[in-house]
């Protein structure tokens, strides 16, 4: 009786320890599952696989690399990952690939048989048919195993877009637009710089050091007044200067070539002419001698 009680006590302790181990395992497992869901999923799938292999067969696809946009005629790479097949033995799986438009129309379909021993990873490339219109499409992958469509399917979306000069249409428009804007900006900037340079050159004081000293001051005064007026009224300043009696100027540059009459008379008439055009009196400056 006493021995029986001891056995019962030992058995109870063993059961308690087992329960404790189970509880600890459960806690650890749930924690592990939270941290490694994929791994746990595979484990569970493998356990179930022994019961019904087709229910837990997995297929996963993704766009291989960074390709999210392809042109008609180009290759679309699909990374395929098959798992939980065969229960440890080698089996043949029929993988069907299809490209479906946003309206649900299947524009391309192909299949291939792949040997799988539990898992298989590979990259399948599909050539997008020439003439396919642009838009968002879905690459769908299904698996047929033992003559049955397995519930596992996977898909991802991608864009088909035509290329112009080897560049996707939208990129071509974007980069083309940027290039046009930059070109316009550069052309405008160049135009402004050239104009400014021409203006600076045009309005730069003309050197009259070759003119005799006693009349040089009049040449400089007339020349600078013409240049100053060009800034204000434009090329008509030259037209007015050309009409002044006794004043001979270069018709393009405005340089004073000759004074054939009294210099002060030329200045007075030039100032009068400009005052008539401007409707206000004219100031002038002398060069530092």
């Amino acid at each position: 009786m006493r021995k029986a009680k001891q056995k019962m006590k030992i058995l109870r302790n063993i059961i308690l320890i087992c329960l404790l181990i189970v509880m600890m395992s459960s806690i650890l497992a749930s924690k592990f599952r939270r941290e490694n869901p994929g791994y746990v999923e595979i484990l569970l799938a493998q356990v179930s696989q022994a019961l019904d292999v087709t229910k837990n067969a997995q297929v996963d696809t993704s766009n291989a690399g960074v390709v999210v946009k392809v042109a008609p005629g180009e290759l679309l790479p699909i990374a395929v990952k098959l798992s939980n097949f065969g229960g440890g033995r080698r089996v043949d799986v029929l993988v069907e690939y299809s490209i479906i438009s946003s309206t649900g129309e299947k524009i391309y379909s192909t299949n291939e048989t792949v040997a799988v021993e539990t898992t298989n990873n590979f990259i399948k490339t599909i050539q997008i048919p020439f003439g396919t219109g642009g838009g968002v499409y879905i690459a769908k992958t299904s698996i047929i195993y033992n003559g049955q469509l397995v519930p596992a399917t996977t898909q991802f979306s991608f864009t088909i877009e035509k290329k112009i000069l080897g560049i996707f249409q939208s990129d071509f428009i974007l980069y083309g637009g940027i290039a046009i804007l930059v070109s316009i900006f550069m052309a405008a900037l160049g135009h402004v710089l050239i104009k400014r340079r021409q203006r600076t050159m045009r309005l730069a004081p003309v050197d009259y050091s070759d003119v005799p000293h006693d009349t040089r001051v009049f040449y400089e005064l007339i020349s600078d007044t013409i240049m100053g007026m060009r800034q204000q009224v434009g090329e008509s300043a030259l037209d007015i200067a050309k009409q002044i009696e006794g004043l001979v100027i270069d018709e393009k540059t405005g340089r004073v070539l000759r004074l054939t009459t009294k210099p002060s008379k030329v200045v007075a008439e030039l100032v009068s002419g400009y005052e008539k055009v401007l409707g206000k009196k004219v100031s002038f400056s002398f060069r530092n001698s």
Partner: protein, 129 residues
């Protein structure tokens, strides 16, 4: 240390003269005032300002006569002068006088704002330094 430059303002119109003097004081110049050409010549030859701002149409002695007198002095022949006037330079004699007596600028009052005139004064004095 920057020395304060003296500017002689010869202008018969009191309000304009005072406005110029005020802005010159703000710009840290030492302005001197004369209300006609005669006063201007006397003050110029006595104080030897660094620059003269000169009106042309004034009572007692006009600006051009005052400029002729100043230019006859050994100091005055080189002092920079800015003519600030409303007299249009459309007369041959006036132009000959102006060219002969070499002011730095012949400015029409209505065309110029005071601070632009002060800018020109500063530039001339900077060049001289």
């Amino acid at each position: 240390m920057k020395t304060q430059k003296t500017i002689l303002v010869v202008e018969d119109e009191k309000s304009l003269r005072e406005a110029i003097v005020d802005i010159l004081k703000i710009k840290n110049f030492n302005p001197l005032e004369a209300k006609n050409g005669k006063e201007g010549v006397d003050l110029a030859l006595e104080k030897h300002p660094d620059l003269i701002l000169l009106d042309l149409l004034m009572p007692e002695m006009d600006g051009m006569t005052a400029l002729k007198n100043i230019r006859q002095d050994s100091w005055g022949e080189k002092v920079p002068v800015i003519i600030l006037t409303n007299l249009s330079a459309t007369k041959e004699q006036l132009i000959e006088d102006v060219v002969t007596h070499k002011p730095m600028h012949y400015l029409i009052k209505s065309d110029w704002k005071l601070h632009d005139v002060v800018d020109k004064i500063e530039k001339i004095l900077e060049m001289q330094n």
